[in-house]
């Protein structure tokens, strides 16, 4: 890697424009503009999966992935709070299996807050947010152990997952759990598709909180994201056109490479 350590003027402008669009659409939405979001099946399934655990009277397992505190994990915790609120309304227990010690206090705090927001603070049990292990495969094995011993009915896996993903989902499947998984990084998606009931792919993962909560702030952000994606497509189209016309190494490549 290396190389690009600081932005050039092109990046500064591009970044400022992208941020401005997202923030502006958030603010517009907060003023009450109605926004549309298309159906995302994997996310619609969350409610159904929580309902199944309630019906069976068994707990739910949630894993926020392996990453330490970063954007992926924070989004996972956002989804966790939503699921806790759903489950708390039905008095269904949720066990959270944590790998990163730094994520542990944040998850614990989010869980407590979510139970309070749902009006069921008495359901919150601190020991249900569990640190399992920071070692990737010890985490995998330990989490499978929790699934089996607690007889979970539903597994939610949202966050940054790596090779251990298949250990979790294949065992979850063998135990008969309903599984919904999501990971922004594409590498583990094939295994989720092969073993889970519903899978949230790529950017659907970041659309999750908006889709689930329908908070104006978040739906507004989603609209802004779509506009920025359109800009990115335009940028790629211009780049392709320039490469076709001028050959590789034209000015846009240079600018995006940090030169200029």
């Amino acid at each position: 890697m290396g190389g690009l350590e600081h932005a050039n003027w092109f990046m500064r402008i591009l970044f400022a424009v992208m941020c401005a669009i997202i923030v502006a659409s958030v603010l517009l939405a907060q003023r009450g503009r109605a926004m549309f979001i298309r159906r995302i099946p994997g996310l619609t399934a969350i409610e159904e999966a929580v309902g199944r655990a309630t019906e069976m009277g068994r707990p739910i397992l949630f894993s926020p992935g392996l990453d330490s505190i970063n954007i992926v994990t924070l989004q996972a915790l956002a989804i966790l709070t939503y699921i806790i609120r759903l489950a708390a309304a039905q008095a269904t227990r949720i066990i959270v299996a944590i790998r990163s010690p730094t994520v542990y206090p944040v998850a614990e705090e989010s869980a407590r807050e979510a139970y309070e927001a749902a009006g069921r603070p008495e359901l919150y049990r601190p020991e249900d947010v569990r640190f399992i292990s920071d070692e990737q495969f010890a985490y995998g094995l330990g989490t499978v152990g929790v699934m089996a011993r607690e007889q979970v009915a539903t597994n939610f896996l949202f966050g940054g997952f790596y090779a251990e993903s298949l250990i979790l989902t294949e065992n979850g499947r063998a135990l008969g759990a309903v599984q919904v998984a999501g990971c922004p990084d594409p590498t583990q998606i094939p295994f989720f598709i092969a073993t889970c009931d519903y899978v949230v792919i790529g950017d659907e993962y970041y659309a999750a909180s908006a889709y689930l909560t329908r908070e104006p702030t978040l739906t507004g952000s989603l609209v802004g994201q779509d506009i920025v994606k359109a800009i990115l497509i335009a940028l790629a189209a211009v780049g392709i056109g320039l490469t076709t016309a001028l050959g590789p190494g034209h000015f846009l490549t240079v600018w995006l490479g940090g030169g200029g």
């Binding site: 350590e5 600081h6 932005a7 992208m18 941020c19 997202i22 923030v23 958030v26 330490s68 954007i71 992926v72 924070l74 915790l77 956002a78 989804i79 709070t81 939503y82 944590i98 010690p101 730094t102 542990y104 206090p105 989010s110 807050e113 309070e116 927001a117 601190p126 020991e127 947010v129 569990r130 640190f131 399992i132 070692e135 495969f137 010890a138 011993r149 090779a163 298949l166 250990i167 294949e170 922004p184 594409p186 598709i193 092969a194 073993t195 790529g202 950017d203 993962y205 970041y206 909180s209 909560t213 908070e215 702030t217 978040l218 952000s221 989603l222 994201q225 920025v228 994606k229 990115l232």
Partner: protein, 282 residues
């Protein structure tokens, strides 16, 4: 005794330790006092505001260093020299959360042992394994220092070997290798031509898998390498699938998540995130 004294000597501060200790204690008392004062004076709104400000400044610091104009060789701006120490500081602060993780584990397993719940002996094993690794791991570490501690017990090295190379590493490898079984059974179960999507997935997996082993190459080896239709030799077809079908799709996903993550970063940086985490109250 000799051992304890040697360990103790490792933790001795440099000369003139009185001044250093005084500074440390003073700084500690001062920060506790500041935190206490904040706790007493700030109301719920003030606290929320302070948290938002800390979040904003932390994000600004790391973001601004990248975008602020740079000068000189190597290129630098006024924040560049601070990135490394601040990152280290944050890593060190984060390291203290390890205690919370261990506390969580001890809470769950301690209760199992104390209440003699079913499987409590497993929880006991957990404690034994943790303490053994802790003791012999630290011992091993200090044996490798420039001036090793006196070798009090001859079998220390052997026990560490058993714990690390006999249990820890093989458990890691064995758990990792379970994936071979899981991937085989997942492939068998998932790749059915029930839907167009599953059929496409299966076809791609099929070609790539065959292209990876010499046996697959043998199947299409009758196609000459220099013929125009050499494209259909399975190892070349597999490589083509990876490069020209898999790669652009992955890139499409990456573009999407780049923007999604950017929006998420912006929202939490500006404390705009709503309906998630702990932004509701307090």
């Amino acid at each position: 005794m000799a051992l304890l004294r040697a360990v103790w000597s490792l933790f001795q501060p440099a000369p003139n330790r009185g001044v250093l200790l005084a500074a440390i204690v003073a700084a500690a008392i001062l920060s506790v006092f500041i935190l206490y004062a904040l706790h007493r004076t700030l109301g719920p709104r003030g606290r929320r505001w302070l948290i938002a400000v800390v979040t904003f400044i932390a994000g600004l610091f790391f973001g601004l260093e990248f975008f602020w104009p740079v000068k000189g060789e190597p290129p630098k701006n006024f924040l560049t020299d601070w990135i490394e120490p601040v990152s280290t500081m944050i890593a060190v602060i984060g390291a203290f959360t390890v205690g919370l993780g261990i506390y969580s584990l001890c809470q769950v397993h301690g209760r199992n042992v104390a209440q003699r719940r079913p499987g409590w002996h497993n929880s006991l094993t957990f404690f034994l394994a943790m303490l053994a690794m802790l003791a012999f791991g630290l011992w091993e570490h200090y044996l490798h220092l420039p001036q090793p501690l006196p070798k009090v017990v001859p079998w220390q090295k052997g026990i560490y070997e058993i714990l690390f190379n006999g249990l820890f590493a093989p458990l890691q490898a064995a758990t990792f290798s379970l994936l071979a079984f899981y991937i085989a059974s997942a492939a068998y179960r998932a790749f059915r031509i029930r839907t167009a999507e599953a059929a496409l997935m299966m076809a791609a997996a099929f070609i790539v898998m065959l292209g990876q082993v010499p046996f697959g190459a043998w199947l299409t080896s009758s196609i000459p390498v220099d013929a125009g239709w050499a494209f259909f030799r399975i190892e070349l077809l597999g490589e083509w699938v990876m490069r020209w079908l898999n790669m652009p799709a992955q890139r499409g996903i990456v573009f999407g998540i780049a923007i999604g993550a950017l929006a998420m970063s912006l929202r939490i940086w500006l404390s705009l995130e709503r309906g998630t985490f702990f932004t509701e109250q307090s």
